[in-house]
Symmetry: C2
Subunit: 361 residues, 2 copies
Amino acid sequence: MAVRIVPVIMSGGSGTRLWPLSRAAHPKQLHPLVTELSMVQETARRVAATSKDFKFEAPIIVLNESQYIRARGQLDELGCVPACYVVEPVGRNTAPVAAVAAELVRRELGDDVLVLLLPADHHIRDIEGFHQAIAHGAALAAQGQLVTFGIEPAGPETGYGYIRRGEPVSAGFHVSAFTEKPDVETAKTFLASGEYYWNAGIFLFGAGALLAELELYCSEVARCSLAAVSGAEMTGTKLTLDLAAFEACPSISFDYAVMERTSRAVVVPADIGWSDVGSWDALWSISDKDEHGNASRGNVSIHASENSFVISDGAKVAIHGVKDLIVVATGDAVLVIHRDDAQGVKKIVDALKEAGHDDLL
Amino acid sequence: MAVRIVPVIMSGGSGTRLWPLSRAAHPKQLHPLVTELSMVQETARRVAATSKDFKFEAPIIVLNESQYIRARGQLDELGCVPACYVVEPVGRNTAPVAAVAAELVRRELGDDVLVLLLPADHHIRDIEGFHQAIAHGAALAAQGQLVTFGIEPAGPETGYGYIRRGEPVSAGFHVSAFTEKPDVETAKTFLASGEYYWNAGIFLFGAGALLAELELYCSEVARCSLAAVSGAEMTGTKLTLDLAAFEACPSISFDYAVMERTSRAVVVPADIGWSDVGSWDALWSISDKDEHGNASRGNVSIHASENSFVISDGAKVAIHGVKDLIVVATGDAVLVIHRDDAQGVKKIVDALKEAGHDDLL
């Protein structure tokens, strides 16, 4: 019998790296950034396939209250019916999300069913490769391992976590070490060694196995998360976690709480055309372009320009004679930065926060 | 007794060189581009002064129907009460405007009263110098000369008309030649000679003198313009020229119809801080700037950028890490061009016309 996997789509982020399009109540994952579907729709569709090696169950969607209506509308539109929408009353990073998900799966389907924890705002070009990697990971997770997926590094990026591979194990490797956001020199040595992967932030594990490891390494998160589930309020398919219990939970990443400590960590290489779409430049990189390297979305006119990315959700945006620019226009805000100016959006967003412009964030 | 001058403010233009701010029904001269007053307000204020040498009468405002309400509102706001608003039922360039104005002045005030013909969309920094030049010009115009004002060229611009000075006459010179839009090599020789001025498009002449010269050199314009006045419809201070007569009038510039042909042309040098604000770059040039050379209008945040010009009439516009850019955001359009990209706006506007986007023009 094919192994059963419950996809848990983490859709609670409200990042500002794609400001002004991405906003607290209408974040990146709810926008059609790469295709005509929103990123959460693409993610849901990606985990609706069947395979001879595994069976995806109805997904669990984790998000916050301000995103619920919009996200649900988008998934309804797709004909996707999640097992439930888990509403986080406050954000507590990914370890509590993993714990809540594992507990829900354990209660409903049993200890041995697998949980696939994945962000709603990543792009994966090669769906077949993705499913292949899941199949490889599922075989390991079914044996009690906690699986992370490793991306072949495309350059010495300093914004990612790196995973060093150890001894081979079936279609993967034991994890030898995790390194969060190395400096560029360190990242270069990692690449040169050929032993490192980027950590894609996608995890696969048995519900019972995760809860056991969490109890070992971070029992406070386990305790609070389980209490938040026990005290949760269910309305239809909307499960709102208990505020007091969840608020008491440490805010900590799943990598840090479990993966970096457990002896059961394995990495499965995943050559799947992955991008976390973590900046406008990253989105430009994976977008279709004209013969001059320009990409665009919406009501846009590009003249005599090169390697630029122009996005509008309404107004006509017209450019002429520029290169390497990002231009993003929404109804109430316009961003213009150099394409390699990774800090630009952050600086602008920080200044808006400072000035009390929460209406724009 | 001080000579009487009727300012005739030509406010009928609907240029697109400052697109997307300047639109057919809300053109450049009705925007507060340089100061907090609109350009037509500034122009009206500039010709409301008194002097021992001349007396400005109530002005005549020439415009088209779609601009009337807005222009009148702006002048009312300023407390400016024009002698009349002349509505052109169709545009016929500046020679017919001069003829209509001269005829109106002749009828109401007599042949000897002077007409100061001036565009509504130029910026003049030095008002005192402007009035001094007018005084010099008035002395010549009172003797029957047709006066144009000459700007010391700041560079070999190819977009202006050039005036070559001849023999001196009181505070000016007889005009030796006019040259429209020379190529850059010719413009350079003009500058090197020291004998040339830019034609500012501001003219001063006696009403009777102009009509006599027009009769000599371009009688068709004189005939049609006078008929358009005779057949005009007056409602309060709004005088709508007769459509059939004015439509029959040749469309021709005052320079070409009269100034380049008459023997009475004189040029008065005018060192008055003049700009025709003929491009976004020209507007940037005369704007106040921060220590990095950036200028802005409206709801704008500028970070780590140089020599750029950012304008918004609503949305927050934020830039980071760019230089030499023009960014202009209106509710329905956003323009991004290089500051020295003089052709950019024209190319974009032409493409919009081609695509039938009259709503944006």
